[in-house]
């Protein structure tokens, strides 16, 4: 019987085959991981929500809108007639603050602005892409409350972005508006609730029918 000759041939070590299951797992898992990464990493929920820049004046909505209960429209007075909900002129602050806390160091910047006419450079928080045309009046007048897009501003000391404000997010509401509608007159009321025992969606439905609302999914609604 001939013996097997001396072996000089290179053979892969055993662990190479051991690796196979892991490689297979990676092959399946990696794409899934990448998709998840882009999906959540790229989502405005990750990139934008919670954006709370430092403002030149430590203005607290929690105090003014919350505790003092000043209506949104006192300062953002164009919200019902224009696309922009204008940021108020320094003037507006001074209406009260000439008397109240007239000397508070916190308000130095405000007083200076009103004296010199130099504007206060506020930092924009809710910042849509430039090719998106959002019209405040069109929403507020149709019974979409401020809170729907801005969250409980009246509870924010420093304003932050509360919602995704992504296209998909807008479409969700345009497709099923009922759960987000309220009587237009209650638009600025942060803690508005439907009447006791009435389901929010059902109530919104009545609003939609009363105001003959048909939110559009057309591209032309927001992009021009």
């Amino acid at each position: 019987m001939t013996q097997q000759g001396p072996n000089t041939v290179f053979v892969f070590p055993a662990w190479v085959d051991e690796l196979k299951p892991f490689i297979a797992a990676a092959g399946v898992g990696l794409p899934i991981y990448l998709v998840a990464l882009v999906w959540y990493g790229g989502s405005p929920a990750t990139t934008d929500v919670g954006y709370a820049p430092q403002q030149p004046v430590a203005y607290s909505h929690a105090l003014h809108a919350g505790e003092l209960g000043i209506d949104c429209r006192y300062c953002h007075n164009t919200v019902e007639v224009a696309a922009h909900a204008a940021v108020p002129p320094t003037q507006t602050c001074m209406n009260c603050h000439t008397n109240i806390r007239g000397t508070s160091p916190k308000l130095a910047a405000v007083r200076e602005s009103s004296a010199t006419g130099m504007p206060i450079p506020w930092v924009r928080v809710h910042d849509l892409p430039d090719y998106v045309y959002f019209n405040h009046s069109a929403h507020v007048r149709r019974g979409v409350g401020c809170v729907e897009c801005h969250g409980r501003i009246d509870a924010m000391d420093v304003v932050y972005q509360a919602k995704k404000l992504s296209m998909g997010w807008c479409l969700d509401c345009h497709r099923n508006p009922d759960a987000h509608l309220r009587p237009p007159e209650a638009a600025t009321q942060m803690d508005w609730e439907p009447p006791k025992g009435v389901d929010r969606t059902a109530f919104g439905k009545t609003i939609r029918e009363r105001l003959k609302l048909a939110p559009s999914e057309d591209c032309s609604t927001c992009h021009r």
Binding site: V9, F10, F12, W39, G42, S43, P44, K164, S166, M167, G168, L171
Partner: protein, 467 residues
Amino acid sequence: MAVATLERPSRDNTSSDPARRAPLVLAGNDYASVTEKVCRIVEVRKPPRAWTLAFTIAASFTGILGLMVLYLITTGVGVWGLNKPVSWGFDITNFVFWVGIGHAGTLISAILYLFRQQWRTGINRFAEAMTIFAVICALLFPGIHVGRIWFEYWIAPLPNQMSMWPNFRSPLLWDFFAVGTYFTVSLVFWYMGLIPDIATIRDRATTKARRIAYGLLAMGWRGSNRHWHRYERAYLLLAALATPLVLSVHSVVSFDFATSMLPGWHATIFPPYFVAGAIFGGFAMVLMLAVPCRQWFGVKDVITPRHLENMCKIVLATGMMVGYAYAIEFFIAWYSGNPVEGFVFINRAFGPYAWAYWTMVFCNVATPQVFWSRRARSNPWVIFAVAVFVNIGMWFERFVIIVTTLSRDFLPSSWNSYTPTWVEVLTLMGSFGLFFTLFLLFLRFLPMIAMAEVKAIMPAPHGEAHR
């Protein structure tokens, strides 16, 4: 040895005598010698000087391609000569041209396989490789010709924050799926065929590095017959699937034009016409590559005159089909009674781009006619020349279809002419550079002939073969 008795001493196996099967491997080669011949190409330390020279040139053109693409992406599509009516020019012309080239490989491996055409074995491997590389070049152009490359991924149906989806009515989307599928399937098909041959190279390997590299690629192939059994069945299935695929790809590409509404594009004849053209151009390219390769790498016994002749016959046949299509297009235009359609074709033949049209007709219809002569079919130089002409002609065919139609469509007020810029010209040349770079690398590092398959059709060393 027994093989010798089966064969006439001459190197000519182009006899068409039905009484006896002409051998497809010449000069008394046996399994070992075929293996030796093919593997030597991959194993020799220094490649032939011709290879080195060719590779240097090709690689530098690939570099130019890279620069052109960079310039394009940083500056804008405006660096090309495109304009208002003519929004597609060289870009899509090159795309269709390369996709067309990419048809021969899979056609040979799939359709000829189903038809049990044994002569395919000599050429299918590098024809398939050519297919892969041609499709890579093709995919390049739709990739770079769009205005905002950074958003091209929107064409893929991926979930996104905009809740937007692609528009599946668009022929471009069909293209995306068709060419993408074609590339994947061709790649799988090609690699599957390579496995046993890579195993051969692995087992001949003299260095550890080669043994590891080819070992990994061969995936541990042992030539086990239980494996061969499933392997062959899978190969047959792939061939069966690839056959309709090959026919579909260029049909779908032709939809880009056929489903549009432009005179000269909007024609139901396009799918068959494009497929015929693709096979035509594809085989021409195979010939163009085969003639010098068998010369440089000494595989004349495997890629025999018979192989060349068969391909010449196919080129002749498909060339006639293309010629028929050219003619029938005019008939349709006239018969449809659509004046705009009519004008487009008269304009093609006698308008500002007549020169391109007649170049196309000469190269695609006239030149292949020489293949009626047996002497032309058996003269490598004639074959090579015709192949080059056909490739030029097929490029011009796409140019004529795209540019003449766009430059003069419905409203005379927006008629305009199109002249490419140097960027476009260099990009086209660069795409050839890329193609040949890849092809030459393939020749150097992978077996250019499907050894296992060739052996399978060789007469067995003892007694009669099993078939």
